[in-house]
């Protein structure tokens, strides 16, 4: 706080409103890093290490083709992890996201295909009681094939309703989310098996639905859209500075904001350039950025987001402040399932089909790992939406690299486990440093 111009010395708070210089920001940043508040630093270092290791083992890792593949591969977990960040902010967990994503994927695929038997559940249950399914099947009730703009929203609606169901059970009966969503994990797994049915795989044929994960922008459009996004970011930053100036509050130095915008522009330009060397900017990459921006806005700039942090930080304080804690929790589980549903559609689009094993494997663990590796605390109240992207980048890079090396599943699992462990260790150690220096 060296460059105070006209601040009255008798009041520290007013003095703190004096404009800080770039040098102050730099020294503050290094002080925070030394104290253990590392921010995104470990992720960047981790990614450099991962890239170096895999590139030395297999020269295909750092290629334009693999970069585009990586974006498409990480889209599913990133989307699911965005919802999980909200759940983790509450200090809760949602284990059901894997199969909820599959339920959404199957629902979309069946609705697009048509002929989804709305009575199939009834028939199946009656079959358990020994009633001949043929009598009901003879009714031959079939749904017409829906267009994509009907099937996709309906599938997402189903996912959101599942989340509301989870949240309502958890809050109404005061059950641990861990158990309720564990029950959900099994039950929705069963629903997927029944819906997919005997064949084991349903092929997705709708062009738009497949296009979610398989469309690439021509180079010109890639550049235009990216430039627009950087411009929007810059405008938002400067609008913030303007309102803070009007209220006579301290703001980030303009030089620093310009630096941030420049950095973003360079990174974005590099990414676009690399993708244009291959198939072009994947549309799914843009969808991810829009989702991240939207959910970041929800978390940081709205009452709802503020209440999510408050409930995760101190539920009693939130309750006394008049926040309807249970309603917030239900909404968060709805968001979690809704984003799982989005992820399910993306995964179905990427595979161009839904199989009985959809939503299984290590999808849940990878998604939770992505949120945690990205820096969202498992204990609630601390984390950012963008951690879903950063963590998913790490998880997907490791998977992608190991795939290139042709490692066996056993080795893959061990390495994925170790990466998660290292990430949590780094977080725990830096947290201790922060606690000691009182940054929280």
């Amino acid at each position: 706080m060296s460059t105070t111009k006209s601040a009255p010395a008798e009041n520290a708070l007013l003095a703190s409103q004096a404009q800080l210089s770039v040098g102050d920001y730099a020294s503050n940043y290094f002080r925070r890093v030394r104290a253990g508040d590392l921010g995104a630093l470990p992720i960047v270092v981790g990614l450099v290490i991962i890239a170096t290791i895999f590139q030395t083992q297999n020269e295909n890792f750092l290629t334009a083709r693999n970069f585009v593949n990586l974006i498409v591969q990480m889209a599913g977990i990133t989307t699911i992890a965005i919802g999980l960040v909200y759940v983790l902010l509450l200090g809760e967990i949602d284990l059901s996201v894997g199969y909820v994503s599959a339920v959404a994927g199957v629902t979309m695929t069946l609705l697009l295909k048509g002929g989804l038997h709305p009575l199939s559940f009834v028939i199946w249950i009656l079959g358990l009681f020994g009633i001949d399914p043929a009598t009901l099947e003879s009714l031959n009730f079939q749904l017409p094939p829906l267009p994509w703009f009907g099937a996709i929203p309906l599938a997402l609606l189903v996912a959101a309703l599942i989340g509301i169901l989870h949240g309502s059970i958890i809050t109404r009966f005061q059950l641990p989310a861990f158990i309720v969503t564990l029950a959900g994990l099994r039950a929705w797994n069963g629903v997927v098996l029944i819906l997919v049915g005997e064949g084991g795989t349903i092929v997705l044929q709708d062009k738009v639905a497949i296009g979610i994960a398989n469309t690439y922008l021509p180079a010109v459009w890639g550049w235009i859209v990216t430039a627009l996004m950087v411009l929007l970011y810059a405008l938002a930053q400067f609008a913030q500075i303007r309102t803070r100036r009007r209220s006579n509050l301290a703001h980030t130095p303009i030089f620093l904001v310009l630096l941030q915008v420049l950095f973003l522009a360079v990174v974005a330009a590099a990414a676009v350039y690399i993708t244009t060397q291959d198939r072009g900017v994947p549309v799914i990459g843009l969808i991810l950025i829009i989702l991240l921006a939207g959910f970041t806005y929800l978390a940081t700039s709205t009452r709802f987001g503020r209440y999510v942090y408050a409930v995760g930080g101190n539920r009693e304080a939130a309750r006394r402040a008049g926040i309807q804690v249970d309603r917030i929790r239900v909404y968060v589980f709805m968001i979690s399932s809704l984003m799982a549903g989005c992820g399910g559609l993306i995964l179905a689009a990427r595979l161009r089909s839904v199989a009985t094993d959809a939503g299984g494997g290590n999808l849940v663990l990878n998604s939770i790992a992505a949120a945690v590796i990205g820096g969202t605390s498992l204990f609630g109240g601390s984390g950012r939406v963008v951690s879903a992207l950063l963590g998913a980048l790490v998880v997907a890079s490791v998977e992608n690299g190991m795939g290139l090396l042709g490692l066996s599943s056993g080795v893959k699992f061990i390495i994925t486990g170790l990466v998660l462990l290292v990430a949590v260790l780094v977080d725990a150690i830096s947290r201790r440093g922060r606690a000691q220096s009182g940054i929280a």
Partner: protein, 255 residues
């Protein structure tokens, strides 16, 4: 105490099942004054303030606010009158910054439901300035990084920001060191000086004699007396707390 009290309780009682927590207690709080409420454990201090706050409404008795009879059946009623309570555990969210805590549950928003961060920050700074809270480096620090005294100050500032008229502080110095107790006591004096009625609950008679204008003593759920701080001593208060004259002794058959 010639002028009209801001808050006046007349003969309030509250029982929990068979336990008579307070019986026919009278209590007043005046604008611009600090009224201390003392008593041994179980004397009924908490029951009294929870009744005023509307958490456990009184069974009987009358409440006058600004000279008018009022009913307080819920925390919302008391908040509507301008009564704010700062509880011992403060109820702050450690992960949120000072501004977010001060506006928690009453955030200002603009278009698109966007939080009006600049406006809230400005108002938070103004409130803290009016209370001369000077030790805070920035209102954008998370509460977890503040000292106990600073947290108490934030909790008080949060309470007085909403045009409140009466602030009840429950053991505000209980967990604080010497320097921080000093800050909080100064803050209590300033609240009264700024024109609020302050009710201070404390076990520390030293603190009370420093800031209170009057001291109300409760014993076994009954009034023992109200003393002007300037005309009494700590010995008198201790005597009143432990052996003050009761109108009726619990357990004894009324004559």
């Amino acid at each position: 105490m010639a002028d009209q009290p801001l808050l006046e309780l007349r003969g309030v009682s509250k029982s929990f099942g068979a336990v008579q927590a307070i019986s026919t207690v009278n209590f007043t709080a005046h604008t611009g004054q600090v009224m201390a409420l003392v008593g041994d454990n179980g004397a009924g201090k908490s029951t009294l303030i929870k009744g005023i706050a509307g958490i456990y409404p009184f069974d009987e008795g009358e409440i006058y606010f600004d000279g008018k009879p009022v009913t307080i059946r819920s925390p919302r009623d008391s908040a509507a009158l301008g009564i704010e309570v700062v509880y011992q555990d403060l109820a702050l969210a450690n992960n949120l910054d000072v501004v977010a805590n001060m506006f928690l549950g009453r955030e200002r928003t603009g278009g698109l439901g966007r939080l009006d961060e600049a406006g809230m920050e400005r108002a938070a700074i103004e409130t803290l300035n009016s209370l001369s809270v000077t030790t805070l480096r920035s209102v954008r620090l998370p509460v977890a990084s503040l000292s106990g005294g600073q947290r108490q100050a934030i909790a008080v500032a949060k309470a007085v920001m909403w045009n409140s008229k009466l602030v009840i502080l429950d053991e505000p110095t209980a967990a604080l060191g010497v320097a921080q107790t000093r800050q909080v006591l100064d803050l209590v004096k300033r609240l009264a000086h700024n024109g609020l009625a302050v009710v201070l609950i404390s076990h520390n008679l030293h603190d009370i004699f420093e800031v209170a204008d009057h001291i109300a003593v409760l014993r076994l759920g009954q009034n023992v007396g109200v003393y002007a701080t300037a005309q009494t001593t700590q010995q008198d208060i201790v005597l009143a707390m432990t052996a003050g004259r009761l109108t009726h002794v619990p357990g004894m058959v009324e004559a």
